[in-house]
Symmetry: C2
Subunit: 343 residues, 2 copies
């Protein structure tokens, strides 16, 4: 394996400085009821409140703010299930790029397509099941002369995502508490790789756990074998932002060394996370964005007596889907409002 360049903490600090003017600075939030229910302390990092509605704005802006005038005059290209595309469209407009082209699956949520278009980007649909993504990207890059902004497999994208855990570690240090574990959803692995990098520098005893949808467990399988494997899409999931079938090369190099483990979580976990975010925090989340929270609510990792941070990573969900998943969540046994009186 080639030894890849791993961003030092200085790169993450640079990213944090670059991002400060565009981010919404929201402190960690907690719910006394959730804490009591779980027997520990659960702190949520609401990336749902960032511009474009997901953490993806961090990597996109960190990368696009570094483009040269010549690169901006050519325009940018992204391949994305939706959130990265919207973030790239936003960053491209802000940076003054001539154009932004976003390749998005034909079955992406309506809002992800429409908000990306509303930011002036050209959205090009592809078939998620049959398309050769690498070939698609190569073709658009060469034909149109666009600068490609990867969704995760890039040091600047990872350094951008790393600013989340960087902020969390600084907040914990300032408030004087220790974080036993940090959890975030994992698709290509950029968010969790960045988290692992920042925490290994600033809070090295904190465990870092990736949460994947069951059936899209490419990072778990790759971790188990010690090298990157491609899984076959085995069924449906409501987590439309977490459908990667292979870990990133750069991100896996980090993750295989630094992750404490990978948790597989179900659609019911995602729904449960969405309901808890709604009821306990008044936050809208998309299924993928609530999966890590839901995994904790389902006790896939015990919080007992410990302090955990979980990232709510996105909230770009169609209104009818949101209503439907919340309604379905209430039928899952366990924590729901109607149990409140029993506490």
């Amino acid at each position: 394996v080639t030894e890849l360049h791993i961003p030092e903490i200085a790169l993450i600090e640079d990213a944090a400085r670059r991002l400060a003017p565009v981010l919404v600075n929201v402190p960690l939030m907690e719910s006394e009821r959730l804490n009591a229910h779980l027997g520990g302390r659960l702190l949520v990092k609401a990336e749902t409140l960032q511009p474009t509605g997901s953490f993806k704005v961090r990597g996109a802006w960190n990368r696009i703010a570094l483009l040269s005038p010549e690169e901006l005059s050519r325009g940018v290209l992204a391949l994305s299930s939706g959130n990265h595309g919207r973030a790239v469209a936003w960053a491209a407009r802000r940076a003054g790029a001539r154009r932004a082209v976003v390749l998005m699956p034909a079955d992406a949520p309506v809002n992800k397509v429409e908000y990306t278009r509303a930011l002036g980007a050209e959205v090009v649909a592809y078939d998620r099941r049959s398309a050769d993504r690498a070939e698609l990207v190569r073709c658009w890059r060469e034909r149109e002369g666009l600068v490609y902004v990867p969704a995760f497999d890039d040091p600047h994208i990872v350094a951008g995502a790393a600013t989340i855990a960087y902020e969390v570690a600084n907040e914990a240090a300032a408030a004087g508490f220790r974080i036993e574990a940090f959890l975030a959803a994992c698709s290509g692995g950029g968010l969790i790789a960045g988290s692992a990098l920042a925490l290994s520098a600033l809070s090295p005893t904190t465990e870092v756990w990736a949460v994947e949808p069951q059936g899209y467990d490419d990072t778990a399988q790759s971790m188990a074998r010690g090298h990157r494997v491609t899984v076959s899409a085995s069924g449906e999931t409501i987590c439309d932002a977490l459908l990667s079938l292979t870990p990133g090369e750069y991100t896996f190099e980090i993750n295989k060394k630094r992750l404490s483990g990978v948790i597989g979580a179900s659609d019911d976990d995602a729904r449960r996370g969405m309901l808890a975010a709604f009821e306990e925090f008044g936050l809208v989340t998309e299924p993928s964005g609530a999966l890590a929270l839901g995994a904790l609510l389902s006790n896939r990792l015990s919080l007992q007596g410990r302090t955990f941070v979980v990232v709510l990573s996105g909230r770009n969900v169609d209104q009818d889907v949101f209503a439907k998943q919340l309604a379905a969540a209430t039928k899952i046994p366990g924590l729901s409002r109607s149990d409140a009186r029993h506490h």
Copy 2:
């Protein structure tokens, strides 16, 4: 009219210091799309993210933190449509009050009743249409020896609510922008009275507008006549937190001198505000909490070329009601997600 004691800015600063440890410090948020649509700058203050899910925690904690050990040993009493009750239950538990009794309408949203109970309070239902509230309160106070914590008509409650505009004015001063107008929903008038007090001290050129549900326009009618009047409940509204029929004595004394005006808004405005909070900010709001935002979206006050701050004051809504109101929300021409492609 008796000259009532009006809190000086020092009382608001005291409240801000007392509240700092219990509040979630969220900066003003804005949406580029909403700004472009409205032709101005719209900043939202997300009180929905505060503990107990509404701004009411500010007044409740500011009042209850000042109770003596003897008063805490007697316990507290509140009369509330829900949010103030939940906030009082939360503050009473935190302060170590022996008990909290909350008188709440029998038709209050389920979540308002259950979360208040889950905090250890005794919730007593009364009939909103027939009960003599003053008599109810008097009876419970005397019989049980409880300390009454008013929902709005009290200098400490108003000073607590005033910390919202105090924070907003300080944030605007630090960032170097001027706020032309400040809007918040109005029931008994505590939130808007506090806002007016803080702004008259810190940002005296800022207009302060109260937003009431049509049919529950007791503050508008009282302003028009120069004295407090009681309106008759004329029909239904989804704004369950804004059903007051008479302004508070103390709050009206402030409001009649300091408000720029009162805006009547419809259920459709509330739904529209809820939809915009969901789509543009990822925030859950209850109808009452989104009414002021919705009034702006319906152009009941023009934002053209100006900077406005609007308070999202609460988010304690039952999940089925939330879904139903979002689905029923009138799309805003040119803004709603399904129109995004036309931009």
